[in-house]
Homo-oligomer: 461 residues x 2
């Protein structure tokens, strides 16, 4: 008897699955219409040019960030969002100050100027700079083994190249990023006076790549810079030739009290279940060294394009679609925190959030972080995306800005673009509009709009 | 009884399939070793820099082409090929001459200079140039409808934009390319005196894109130029505003008698079946306007890397692997023809040929053109490639240089890289080394080496 009930249940479930699947497959035509409209008339590339060239760098708390807020608010209105508003948030307010100087010197030999930049959120050196002998480490274990005896009074050089054999460059970035994120405090623990980190770049070139460091309050906060990969190689070679190398560097950055800023939000209210919210976003702040074209102007402009294409085609989502330009992803996540707070305060129901923060390159996949039912449902949609570059839905995080929503049970996803060339330009002066391809950017917007549309039509349970 | 035989046959076939599949799957470790070596120590990017910056443009019959032959011969020797030789061929010898001039003029108003270049293989204007009224057509049908009455004595402007809604840009290129390939003779058929073709570019920019035109001997050969997409838009807008527009242009190109040149070939002799030949190649000639970095320096350098990585890892192929730099793909296929001729004369057994001529972008697929048995076998290998960007083996041509081998029954394949940004730079002055990503280029070489290795180990029947 139990067996029969079980079999009936399986049949019912199977029919439900078929029904869901079939109705979703019937959306192929809508998705084609979305793709045709975006690939032909997308505003994402033109908007990105405007953001990059008229605003440019927009580190949290800066005038650039304030200008970007006004500009994207206007873009969301132009895209046809029915409600556009600014959501207040507190953001980390770090300033680089004057350009850094640095050189290396072997004994009393000629000084060699180094290509460097201060790490984000790092403290400045004293006004006269810091000068000390250098000790190179290849990983955190080595640092521990050297210990206070050999590290005290020194500048530690974290020379952690990104592993070229990882085909997924994000994995290499995560692994080698330990030096930048935790290196300064780890070195300070053993008495180091400064830190030099090899830039997290896949290429050997002359550009230092910045990015946030995170101090551990248990140890002194020491100044820290990133050095170009070219000069990381040079420094390492000099150390091999010549045991005794000193480095001088001077940074002028400061961490001010948190500043007031905003997330920028544009909504299309849902026709049937307006209380069910779908978030699609990117982060509006960038580092100060470049235009933040790929990181993450691209994700913001794609999210605005999602709104535009739905409105342009007269596609009325059943659930509320919200494009969000998050502030302060790079060095504090102030926008992400405020977005969660408001969701809790207003008792909002966030069923799905999708972030694009891997650059506007040709899409290859979506990462998904959601329950089994939702995951099965979403995976069954995969064939609808093959045509537009996305081959799979793989388990993985959605993105730093939407991650806090996980505690509300929100299903999360991230666009996964091809990332072979992302870390060539990530957080460096080369992250400019000219390094974005229009069609690659637009194709990501197609997939994002299609995914948002399917969730708005069919929900996730 | 018949049924039982049939079932047994199915079982045997299934076991064969499993066996093949299992043994191929055991090559995952070898492929990982290939990938690790290429992604860490590949010479493809450095060699490409050398080819682009020390040789540069290398249109067939030019000094550049001769220098490229010497340079790649040396590269193949360095890569460890056990036999390196030049294979004579006759090539089309077309020269652009002095830079072209062109302008448009509405009535007697100010002349507007146009960004143009002569089409490859086209004839020159008279020394004083050609000047005539312009008539715009959007497709070949329109041309027919206009007929001799409206076309005679005019310059025909083929304004065929690449269709942005085709996600596969090669499809759009093929379709809109009709204007460049056949347009001049089609227009001459109705008495046109010159042709202006909208550049085959996905972008709107200031660069004219050249490429070969093919005259039909039944009609007069008239001069033909490509115009930048920016100026194609301008010209079209001016024609709308102002029915009567004339264009002047002057080209100085000439077609000389076929020249002597060479394919460059480097072999690793097979250990078990040396008479079975596997070809892996790209084409060494480029257009004269740029460095031919993506088209097709990339494919050549990847093919040399296939040889290098096998030799470096001590992988001895059972079948003979031949890296071939084909000459004259762009405007005559002289190299491809000579390669086939020699294969026939020497009664060579060509079991497989793989070409990379879609740019050195992140690989996504292999196109395959082969019999059912080979196709099933190859498709079963697909999972071995997922990790390295290739998701599928799809039916499709292998490449212009290897296509002639089809008459010998050779199984053909082409690397299919992501092509969203290929036609931004294709045949234009922007096809330079700086627009190639090291990791994307190397990843293509990984897949090519893996495919060549699997065929050398397991054959294709």
């Amino acid at each position: 008897m139990k067996m029969i009930i079980l079999m009936r249940l399986v049949c019912v479930l199977f029919c439900c699955f078929l029904l869901t699947d079939t109705s979703a497959q019937s959306e192929a035509g809508t998705i084609k219409a979305i793709a045709d409209e975006v690939m032909t008339n997308s505003k994402a590339y033109g908007n990105l040019r405007k953001l990059c060239k008229e605003v440019g760098p927009r580190v949290s708390g800066s005038v650039g960030a304030a200008n970007a807020i006004e500009m994207t608010k206007a873009m969301l209105l132009n895209a046809g969002a029915d409600t556009v508003y600014l959501q207040p948030c507190k953001v980390t307010h770090w300033q680089r100050g004057q350009k850094e100087t640095a050189y290396l010197q072997a004994g009393n030999r000629t000084k060699i100027a180094l290509q460097v930049c201060a790490l984000g959120n790092s403290v400045a050196t004293s006004p006269s700079g810091v000068r000390a002998g250098v000790i190179e480490v290849k990983n955190m274990e080595e640092l521990k083994l050297l210990g206070r005896k050999q590290i005290e009074g020194k500048i530690v050089f974290f020379n952690l190249p990104m592993n070229p054999t990882y085909i997924n460059t994000s994995k290499a970035y995560g692994e080698s990023g330990a030096g930048r994120r935790a290196g300064p405090s780890q070195a300070a623990k053993y008495g180091a006076v400064g830190v030099v980190v090899r830039s997290l770049s896949s290429n050997i070139d002359q550009f230092p790549h910045t990015g946030a460091t995170v101090y551990n309050d248990s140890f002194p906060k020491i100044p820290a810079i990133a050095i170009s990969t070219l000069h990381a190689e040079l420094l390492s070679a000099e150390l091999k030739k010549n045991g005794s190398i000193s480095i001088y560097f001077k940074t002028n950055c400061k961490l001010l009290p948190d500043a007031n800023s905003f997330n920028v939000i544009g909504e299309i209210r849902g026709t049937q279940f307006p209380e069910e919210i779908i978030t699609v976003g990117g982060h509006l702040d960038s580092w100060d060294l470049a235009e933040g074209a790929q990181d993450d102007g691209a994700g913001c402009m794609q999210s605005i394009e999602v709104v535009r294409v739905l409105q342009k085609l007269g596609l009325k989502p059943k659930r509320t679609v919200r494009a969000v330009m998050f502030m302060n992803e790079e060095n504090g996540l102030g926008g992400a925190k405020a977005y969660l707070q408001q969701a809790i305060q207003k008792n909002e129901r966030h069923i799905f959030a999708l972030e694009s923060d891997g650059g506007g390159f040709t899409p290859r996949a979506f990462s998904i972080d959601m329950g089994d039912v939702a995951m099965r449902k979403v995976k069954a949609w995969a064939p609808l995306f093959y045509e537009y570059g996305v081959y799979e839905f793989v388990a993985g995080g959605g993105g730093a800005d939407i991650q806090p929503l996980k505690q509300l049970g929100t299903a999360l996803s991230g666009l996964v673009p091809d990332n072979q060339r992302y870390f060539d330009i990530h957080h460096a002066a080369t992250d400019v509009f000219e390094n974005v391809s229009k069609r690659e950017l637009d194709l990501g917007a197609v997939d994002m709009a299609a995914f948002v549309w399917l969730v708005s039509e069919f929900g996730l349970n």
